[in-house]
């Protein structure tokens, strides 16, 4: 069973779609991803303000950007966002996903509520949180809880965690949805067998649910990690990268360099860095998780 599935690629299949069908997607990908990438790589060797023609200046941008502490600060911040986002979002999404996978009606109602943030745009979420976190008119003041009226977005030591929290608020529903779908795929027979063997709920969760969700965890983690690398809108609306450099993540650094400071050559260097790091992370994740081998997890089910 597993063998035929794994070796399926080589088997002639009459119903397999024609290879030509890949052409539209390939052309779109080429026009909108590969070519712009090549252009950005080219621009990274030029000095360009967006108004006059780009002037070739060799590796000057690369030397300048790779010697700039702001770039390393941005990289370090993006790295922190990746790690903390994963640590915060994964357990919560896993629990909510598994919980809402149950067929009970109250769970269906709750899951509808949990997924609400999914339909809000990032900008709307950021504006709403900006208002809620306002030290003078926000949540803390209106509820009369002094603990909540901190200088959330103005304190350089707090602001990164606030940003990670808001990002988690937006993305946990999406990852819960993945886990919900994954959990519903687990055959009930596994749980029935475990129950007969006397396994409790916690034991069932760790010995059946989590291992069975392995591929979902990999998918969700890949999306989280690579997605964390490109967070822009929420952070930009919330803090514009401030105060100072406290939330100037790599994509934000790229935008501010390119479009606020009109240094499109320098911004292209950062863009290329972003692509390379994103690719390496995605490759590493699929390699080390064994996702690329697509092992069936239902052997013996």
């Amino acid at each position: 069973m597993t063998k035929t599935r794994n070796g399926g690629a080589g088997v002639e299949n009459a119903s397999a779609p024609s290879t030509w069908l890949v052409a539209p997607a390939l052309i779109l990908f080429l026009v909108f991803a590969i070519i712009p990438l090549a252009v950005a790589l080219g621009l990274s060797f030029t000095s360009w303000d967006g108004l006059t023609a780009p002037v070739f200046n060799g590796v000057a941008n690369w030397i300048r950007k790779l010697g700039d502490p702001v770039t390393y600060n941005a990289l370090w911040l993006s790295f922190q966002v990746i790690i903390f986002s994963w640590i915060v979002q994964t357990p919560i999404s896993l629990l909510i996903g598994v919980f809402t996978a149950g067929k009970q009606r109250y769970r269906a109602v709750l899951s509808a509520l949990y997924f609400l943030p999914l339909i809000l745009s990032s900008a709307a979420i950021a504006i709403a949180f900006k208002a809620l976190l306002d030290p003078n008119y926000g949540l803390g003041q209106s509820l009369g809880i002094p603990l909540l009226s901190q200088d959330w977005l103005g304190n350089p030591h707090l602001v990164l965690y606030v940003v990670i929290f808001v990002i988690a608020w937006q993305f946990i529903p999406f990852h819960s949805l993945l886990y919900q779908a994954g959990a519903r795929q687990i055959p009930p027979s596994l749980y029935e067998a475990a129950q007969l063997d006397g396994a409790g709920r916690v034991r069932q969760f760790f010995s059946i649910t989590v291992p069975q969700l392995k591929n979902t965890i990999v998918t969700s983690s890949t999306l989280m990690v690579v997605g964390s690398l490109t967070y822009f809108d929420i952070v930009y609306v919330l803090t514009q990268g401030g105060p100072g450099y406290a939330t100037r993540l790599l994509p934000l650094d790229m935008y501010l360099t390119g479009f606020t400071a009109s240094d499109l050559g320098g911004a292209s260097v950062l863009a290329v860095l972003l692509v390379v790091i994103g690719l390496l992370l995605a490759l590493a994740l699929t390699k080390f998780s064994g996702f690329n081998r697509m092992n069936s997890q239902q052997e013996g089910a």
Partner: protein, 439 residues
């Protein structure tokens, strides 16, 4: 694509393919449209403005269009940030609007350097009736290397110190005339349980107004002029260092409302603190005035509103009557326009901009036109006082972020953020800003 319900003869595969091809065609045609050349509209005249100036620009273009059916101007309006993004790519392309809206200063300089806007000096030499209407210090921001590339088209917006008179009375404070009085008033406000000064640090740009005025009061307008002229180490001028130290002094004394770094000026949260009596003072542009009514319609009629020029600094070289803020917004004419198009665009400017109905729309909304006879036209105490201040001001410092190059102004926002937040010292501020000179 009607009746697109799937039947046996049109398998889903084909529908998917067709959809992808359609998508591709659409994508390509967008790409082609962006590459196509030629005039952007049939008459060839177009104007891009922001929604902020739409109230007077739109009716005036409508008037022009009904009087000149053969030379229609196609007008478009964008949000300020959208506009900045759009114009950057459009201005150097063949889609450039004939009338290019800009803030003068650094942006205009970069347009001039790239040869994107027309030199209007000789075109305007025969239009002295029109050019003489405008306050010279305001017109100055449209001049690069003593040639005129842009002319004012919008209200003038100086920055003033607003007060809540109620709060001042409660704290037993007189409106501060000097910096020392301002510093001395801080403990009195605090004793009365209110914040001395409201500041919208979350929006970053309000920080600018403090350093602009302090540098001007301490060292006069020459200090910033040296920075604009890219003189070496211009940011290390003693006046800039002193201004940085005074900002630190004010922050450390608790002059600004708690959490000021999170307060947003874009949503008028800084204004609300002053109007609702939680802070005594606010340094803001004249544009904030119209927001007061939205927060408390009776604030001005109850006599709570006070306003004055920025305090003088003892021993400073600058004239306490000098102003800072946004002198105006400007029209330039694209260098891509043909001579005939440029002539018509200039005809529109000299006949319709600053005509009676244009000025009336502006003054009715409580704004101050940058005209020499503005005092006779403005309405209300606030606009009258401010227009007197504008006409008496020996210099009108353009907002630094507009006067500087984009690279320098982007750095300035971040460096000010660090200076106010106490992460960098006045010396570090100057050192870091010196690196942006000439960029």
């Amino acid at each position: 694509m009607k009746n697109s319900a799937p039947t046996r003869t049109s398998p889903r595969k084909r529908a998917v393919l067709r959809a992808s091809v359609l998508g591709l065609v659409a994508a390509l045609s967008v790409g082609l449209a962006a590459c196509s050349t030629g005039p952007s509209s049939s008459s060839g005249l177009s104007a891009w403005s922001t929604t902020a100036d739409r109230p007077y620009v739109e009716p005036s273009i409508k008037d022009w269009n009904s009087a000149h059916p053969d030379d229609q101007i196609k007008d478009n309006y964008f949000g300020t940030n959208d506009f900045k993004d759009k114009i950057r790519t459009a201005v150097s392309s063949d889609q450039a609007p004939t009338l290019v809206y800009n803030w003068g200063g650094g942006t205009l300089k970069s347009y001039v350097k790239a040869g994107l806007v027309r030199d209007l000096t000789s075109d305007l030499s025969g239009k002295t009736d029109w050019t003489q209407k405008i306050v010279p210090s305001v017109a100055q921001a449209g001049v690069v290397d003593s040639k005129t590339y842009a002319v004012p088209m919008s209200a003038t917006a100086p920055v003033v110190l607003y007060f809540n008179k109620d709060v001042l009375k409660k704290a037993g404070v007189e409106a501060p005339q000097t910096w020392d009085e301002l510093i001395a008033s801080i403990p009195k406000f605090k004793a009365a349980g209110v914040a001395p000064i409201s500041l919208g640090g979350g929006s970053k740009w309000p920080y600018l107004m403090w350093i602009e005025y302090l540098v001007d009061r301490i060292g006069g307008p020459e200090v910033f002029q040296n920075i604009v002229d890219n003189k070496p180490d211009a940011w290390s001028d003693p006046a800039v260092i002193k201004a940085g130290e005074m900002i630190r002094q004010l922050v450390d004394a608790g002059g600004f409302a708690d959490g000021y770094a999170s307060v947003s000026a874009d949503t008028n949260a800084d204004l609300a603190l002053m109007v609702t009596g939680r802070a005594g003072m606010l340094l803001q542009g004249s544009w904030a005035y119209s927001g007061i009514k939205d927060i408390d319609p009776k604030f001005e009629s109850d006599g709570k509103l006070g306003y004055a020029a920025f305090p003088a600094v003892d021993g400073g070289k600058g004239d306490p009557k000098s102003l800072a803020g946004n002198p105006s917004v400007y029209w330039s004419i694209s260098a891509k326009a043909t001579d005939a198009q440029a002539k018509k665009a200039l005809d529109y400017i000299t006949s319709d901009v600053w005509n009676d109905s244009y000025v009336k729309t502006m003054t009715d909304a409580g704004n101050i036109p940058p005209l020499t006879d503005a005092a006779t036209k403005v309405k209300g105490d606030f606009a009258t006082t401010l227009s007197d201040m504008v006409s008496e001001a020996p210099s009108f410092q353009q907002s630094w972020d507009l006067a500087l190059s984009p690279a320098a102004s982007a750095a300035l926002w971040t460096q000010l953020d660090l200076l106010f937040g106490g992460t960098s010292t006045p010396k570090q501020f100057s050192d870091n800003m010196n690196k942006t000179l000439g960029k």
